[in-house]
Symmetry: C2
Subunit: 312 residues, 2 copies
């Protein structure tokens, strides 16, 4: 494996704890910023069950504040998108001259904030396709999938190599995205229809969206709206790539049909009465669509419904 | 008042009991087909509280089966639209040579069934704009509004006069609709956006739809889709009238802004876990829109969501 890196996990929820744990397991020097489970993790360590192999970190380096961690090689920001307003304050103390930042969060427009704060060249985006829950304090259940797609904010191939090598000795599979913006939009092409409909249709799993002809049709229509918005946004950002619409719809529906009763993270938030990441996953794509003259009537309606459901 | 008429109320829920009660109060000979509250009404009578005046019918004529009622002058069918498949069986025994039928139900396409079964000339549609709840058995709370708009299935002015005269001595205000089809669509122009969004946004009242900018905008967009579908349907039926789109939107929003925390009947069904009238209020208008080549993406999505919510 590559040289041992100092890593700070900002936001040690299910996703941050799991991927930070995998990096620690691979030998990196991982510091976890922990809020809720500090005492539990001190007592029991970090316990992970996973189809890729269970593991325990008996004494992970956990911290109550980022200031105690200080500058590191890599910051992995795994906050919920609903906490974006806390991100600058929490990440800043970990930034030194050469620090790189992986924004391992859901939704559109988040890397832009980090680029403004810390410089565009140091920012990466990570897209986790996975199913991870936090069970009792200090216990993480990784249930399925787990691949992380990583792109660089300026799509610099050398920087992207550096990001991939961080994970090279770990059990996490990483894929590089030549265009981060396209990767973000492609994930939204799945996330908006399926996460959105799972919630708005009353709290159902993806298989029920697939099996209901009206919802299945709505998923396709929403996906078309998102693809149109995404391609307009890519073109607006002068990217040379675009989303291959025909291929994407087929592959998304084919993949979803193999996922069974999958619960997107937005659905889990909804069912548990937690804040859903509506602004980053739905409202920002809608804002860009409308700004670029792309009509998106179903995305408009869905966003309005989800915002309302978020404030029940 | 006009001659005493024999009336059968088929479906003595809140709406049927209230309006039947008003006709009995006015001196008509009203027979109520009662299912759930038979014993309670026998014991306590029919008790109505209303801003238009409370009243009690101590010994209303109540029946367990339509066969015991037999042929009458007027059938008022106030079943829920979800029970349309029971309507023929329940109404048939009350039909004689001169029987007229007022379909006092929500949604589109219901009069067509009655016209097929009993002849188009005898069918009327009634659109109740009201807020009536059933409280304890035998007790009805009329809370607000109450006007009934009545149209004839073939828009025959003489027949329409006959329908209005039935109500002339009662405390119910009735308005005649020169075009029943336009009246149905105009009611849907309110009902689809406001009832639909109240439910799909998580079970909220109309004031919250009005006050939320995203939902308010969605209501306007949905109303535009319904108006476009309605005008296409009116033209398809060779009606000479159409919906005045600009005037309607303004008047609907103005009226809704005075309604406060209004609960549409579909919302009450949803909150109480009862079947919502999705097919008649949403799916049939959508079916007609699509058949006539009117695109209605928000109505499509809303209908799919409500169908799913109906089967939670």
């Amino acid at each position: 494996m590559q040289q041992r890196q100092n890593v700070a996990i900002i936001g040690s929820g299910a996703v941050g704890s799991y991927y930070g744990g995998r990096l620690a397991e691979a030998g990196h020097n991982v510091h976890f910023l922990v809020r809720r489970d500090y005492h539990a993790v001190t007592a029991t360590g970090l316990n992970v069950t996973s189809p890729d192999g269970d593991f325990i970190l008996p004494h992970p380096r956990i911290f109550n504040s980022s200031g105690e961690i200080g500058p590191v090689d890599w910051v992995i920001c795994a906050l919920k998108a609903t906490s974006i307003s806390d991100a600058h304050r929490l990440v800043k103390p970990c930034i030194g001259p050469g620090t790189r930042i992986l924004v391992l969060m859901n939704g559109l427009g988040l890397e832009e904030h980090f680029a403004d704060w810390f410089g565009a060249g140091s920012v990466f985006g990570g897209l986790a396709f996975t199913c991870i829950n936090r069970a009792e304090p200090g216990h993480i259940h990784h249930l399925a999938y787990g691949t992380v797609t990583i792109g660089h904010f300026q799509d610099d191939p050398a920087e992207l190599e550096a990001a991939l090598s961080l994970w090279s000795g770990s059990k996490t599979r990483v894929i590089s995205a030549p265009s981060l913006l396209r990767a973000r939009w492609e994930k939204l092409c799945w996330n908006i229809p399926f996460s959105g409909l799972c919630v708005a249709a009353g709290g159902i799993t993806t298989d029920r969206v697939m099996d209901n002809s009206g919802l299945n049709q709505a998923a396709r229509h929403l996906m078309e709206e998102v693809m149109a918005a995404g391609n307009a946004d890519l073109s607006h950002h002068q990217e040379k790539v675009s989303i291959d619409r025909a291929a994407l719809v087929d592959s998304m529906f084919k993949r979803t049909s193999t996922m069974g009763a999958y619960k997107p993270s937005t659905l889990i938030d909804f069912v548990e009465g937690k804040a859903m990441e509506v602004e980053a996953i739905f409202a920002e794509p809608l804002r860009r669509a409308l700004a670029l003259g792309v009509t998106a009537p179903q995305l408009s309606l869905l966003t309005a419904l989800l915002r309302s459901l978020n404030h029940r």
